[in-house]
Symmetry: C2
Subunit: 196 residues, 2 copies
């Protein structure tokens, strides 16, 4: 049936995000989402298990992007640099459609259940990242500390990117935040600039 | 009624934790918890809103402990040191009853909804910590980065403490993990020791 519905998945996702933002996640119905996308409700359920999946359908591919980036980081790369590379790859994907990211963030922020699911997603990303680091030979607790800290920086960078209107772009904001973290840990943020 | 039920709250909490660990959180009933504690189900609901609250009833006091510790950190303390002091205070409270912490961890780990709630709790702690840092004059993004990173280290330290059988104690494991973090960020964990 796919051939009769060009980019049905993308249209449904866009319609869903817009409706969730307009009406609230709870209120929007799959029938309305389908109508807004010019498709049938049956078509919605061919592409998504439920309303929530629209907001978390990218998780599997993000997980793969993280693992590949950690694997492909130079052998000499420090653990936190490999994590930075992985998160930069995730940030680049998000940056491809900043308006969708903004809508999604507003929807997730407004709903406690979705906020919990989002935290679970980030915790999964941290666990996946730590596993990929261990596969590179990074011992514990360095692997978990680098992974959890990287996700912490990603959360802060994403929130700054949202609140500051998308400038600079997310990959750049992530780089800046990682430098800020190094300065915070070295207690340099308000003092001398970081050594390069 | 409290005077007829000495330490009813503590007995109910202990009975609930034990039952959750034995039977699973879903299966345990408030009637059984009360019976195990030698009390009535009505007594359970005088002390806890529901089964879940038993596992998260310490959140408010933890929040206060965090805020107070950040406030009381020496004026000269760096942001991350103030966060470390706050988390050390939380760790000291958990260390008062390590067996309860162990039971609780097993119960929460086994249930997706409880894991999500636990992540939400830690995210709240990070937000509270960042707010207390800002109140000390720490600017953003340093406040959020120090807070989120501190919580990341706390998560790793707590998991290590659990998996390594409670030795060293949690406050010590937290100190070690914070040192490990500094080394990971400086890419020193497998290299030269940290300068003191």
């Amino acid at each position: 049936m796919g051939r009769w519905e060009p980019n049905a998945r993308g249209r449904l996702a866009q319609a869903a995000l817009t409706l969730y933002a307009e009406q609230g996640f709870e209120q929007a119905t799959t029938a309305e989402i389908a109508r807004r996308a010019g498709l049938t409700e049956r078509s919605f359920f061919r592409h998504f298990a439920d309303k929530r999946e629209v907001l978390f359908s990218g998780v599997d591919s993000m997980r793969e992007i993280i693992v590949r980036a950690v694997e492909e980081a130079p052998e000499s790369a420090a653990a936190l640099d490999a994590v930075s590379a992985a998160l930069a790859a995730v940030a680049a994907v998000i940056q491809e459609n900043p308006e969708a990211a903004r809508l999604r963030d507003a929807v997730v922020s407004a709903n406690a259940e979705l906020r919990e699911r989002e935290l679970m997603k980030l915790a999964e990303f941290a666990a996946v990242t730590a596993g990929a680091l261990r596969a590179r030979g990074v011992p514990e607790p360095a692997a978990s500390l680098a992974a959890e800290t990287g996700i912490a920086v990603f959360k802060v960078a994403r929130a700054r990117w949202m609140s500051e209107g998308g400038k600079p772009d997310l990959p750049e904001m992530l780089r800046e935040s990682m430098t800020d973290l190094r300065n915070v840990v070295a207690d340099r943020l308000n003092g001398a600039p970081a050594p390069s």
